[in-house]
Amino acid sequence: MLLQGNEAVVEGALVAGCRFFAGYPITPASEISEILSIKLPRLDGSFIQMEDEIASLGAVIGASLAGVKSMTATSGPGFSLMQENLGFAIIAEVPCVIVNVMRGGPSTGLPTFPSQSDVMQARWGTHGDHPAIALSASTVRECYEMTVKAFNLSEKFRTPVVLLMDEVVAHMREKMVLSDEEEIEVFNRVKPTVPPEWYIPYEDTPGGVPAMANFGEGYRYHVTGLTHDVRGFPTSRPDEIGPFIARLHRKISQHFSEIQMAEFFQTEDAEITIVAYGCVARSARRAMIEAREKGIKVGLLKLVTIWPFARAAVERVLQKSRILLVPEMNMGQISREVKRVNPGVAKVFTLNKVDGTIITPDEILNRITEVS
């Protein structure tokens, strides 16, 4: 069937088991709200339009604590408002999914134009030291798959997961064959199996992720945004604070290989590798093909997981190529990361565009000619 990126997000969410959505109207993410307002009540789920994005994420966290997989969808200005409760979901370890269809900023910026300028906000937008998981999508198919993946990762690691889309991918229509639900792997949060009196809600475990009891299932415990001990009670003891914050990070860093997704296209013999994500990865692939036709050995590393940064994947192409080119629709947010992990063996070039238009294959090709 012919699907729009935003429509594919909805299909992915429903297959993943999402049954609660709270949101606030915003371009270019509104289709997700509109379609879920029709589909969720049919499935005995709930849709609610809240008074703002702060409230939206608050309701999403509340619903998740009550045991229902939940999500919201927004764009830059709304994502800014969500930073407060995003931090809450991180510290209280509440699974939820936030779709951010990026548009040009800062502030109201360019409501109907594409952008990739919230990449760093997805990493550092909420205050305090915290881990972050953010995925991206460059095709309609990926909008679907990464929404499912976002739910799975959030349930598995008890953390909010951000899906960074851009206006191009969100509104683009592509042919997509929806697979049978049986083929899709869906992960549900691990619940406690011990009796309530033995339940330790924020217990350290080998995997770093404690079992999660839903409200109303007999495990009465305390959920707070304050730094807490393993019982969930606020603590000011250094010997409890340190290990807790360390565990929050470790539960993600220990599973990098499972979280970090990237795709390699003709990177084995590439002298120049393009590192791209989102809609720019599409232009990059075309540029790669055209460059090869001209005899320039170009490869493409497509980042699917944005955070945690796929260091291992970048290091792999750094060993092969003498030049890395990072085209982005921002002033250079991922290129900084690429430069950070580059030990100096390769040259890293950027191609930044912030005028509300997409980066075309020709522009990438020209830049390749310039730097090679």
Partner: protein
């Protein structure tokens, strides 16, 4: 142990969480007692109660009691409560807020929760000040009063929380003081039993901050002020507006019927299902 104490003892979390954070003489404990007695009288199971709070002195209340407890971000308690209630309507959701929490940073959430008529009970402790952060003026600090950030005088007019709730559409609104603890018990009980968005405003003293900065005396003297200035709804009806200027009108201010959000949403589900395949 007295009967009343036994009731409270039954609901407290005895492992690790005491002593509590509140100042000696604080009114929050009286409000907590009233809440527990009301829950006990209604006969709710511990497992079916979700107690949600925001930030501030009142935000610390849920941690001491043995329910499903959720201490959220400042002003946002009602948004979390909305999610919990919609996701699992069988749960009884009670929200504890302070005055700054409910009508400053959370003012927008407060009026919209009332407008939607979500089946949630809000209990707002109004002590006219930001106590925990050191006594800065709140939206309910009266005109002309002193605080850490209005040392020359407060030039803003105060919100009347209950009246705001009435205007925003809450189906049950009651106001009491921590001096009149028995009235508080019955107001909270009625609010819990009321389907839809119910509000109980609890007038309390903060002798540590508001009282000290305005030379209003100790906790006992401030509670005596509550006693001397409280007027029942019935009596207030026969009083001239001038006479009510410095009075606290206590009792049930509104008790009306409006469609409850969750019940309405059930109908939406039925309508949505009827469109499948069309």
């Amino acid at each position: 142990m007295g009967e009343v104490t036994k009731v409270i003892y039954k609901y407290l979390r005895h492992d690790k969480k005491f002593p509590h954070v509140w100042c000696p003489g604080c009114g929050i404990g009286i409000m907590l007692g009233a809440l527990i007695r009301a829950i006990d009288r209604v006969g709710l199971e511990k497992d079916e109660v979700v107690l949600v709070s925001g930030i501030g002195c009142s935000g610390r209340l849920p941690v001491y009691v043995d329910f499903n407890t959720l201490h959220t971000t400042h002003g946002r308690a009602l948004t979390f409560a909305t999610g919990v209630k919609l996701a699992k309507p069988s749960l009884k959701v009670i929200v504890i807020m302070g005055d700054g929490d409910a009508v400053a940073i959370g003012g927008n959430h407060f009026i919209h929760a009332a407008r939607r008529n979500i089946d949630v009970t809000s209990i707002i402790l109004n002590n006219s000040i930001y106590g925990m952060t050191g006594g800065q003026y709140s939206p309910t600090t009266p005109y002309g009063m002193r605080s850490s950030t209005t040392v020359y005088s407060n030039i803003e007019q105060a919100f009347k929380i209950s009246e705001l709730a009435v205007t925003a559409g809450a189906v049950f609104v009651g106001r009491g003081t921590v001096y009149q603890a028995k009235l508080l018990d019955s107001l909270i009980e009625k609010a819990i039993l009321k389907p839809g968005f119910s509000v109980v405003e609890v007038i309390a003293h903060c002798h540590t901050q508001y009282g000290r900065q305005n030379r209003l005396g100790n906790a006992v003297e401030m509670m005596e002020w509550q006693r001397d200035h409280a007027v029942t709804v019935e009596k207030a009806a026969s009083m001239a507006p001038e006479g009510l200027q410095d009075k606290i009108v206590i009792g049930v201010l509104v008790d009306k019927e409006l469609p409850v959000y969750q019940e309405e949403y059930e109908k939406i589900r039925e309508r949505a299902k009827a469109t499948i395949g069309r």
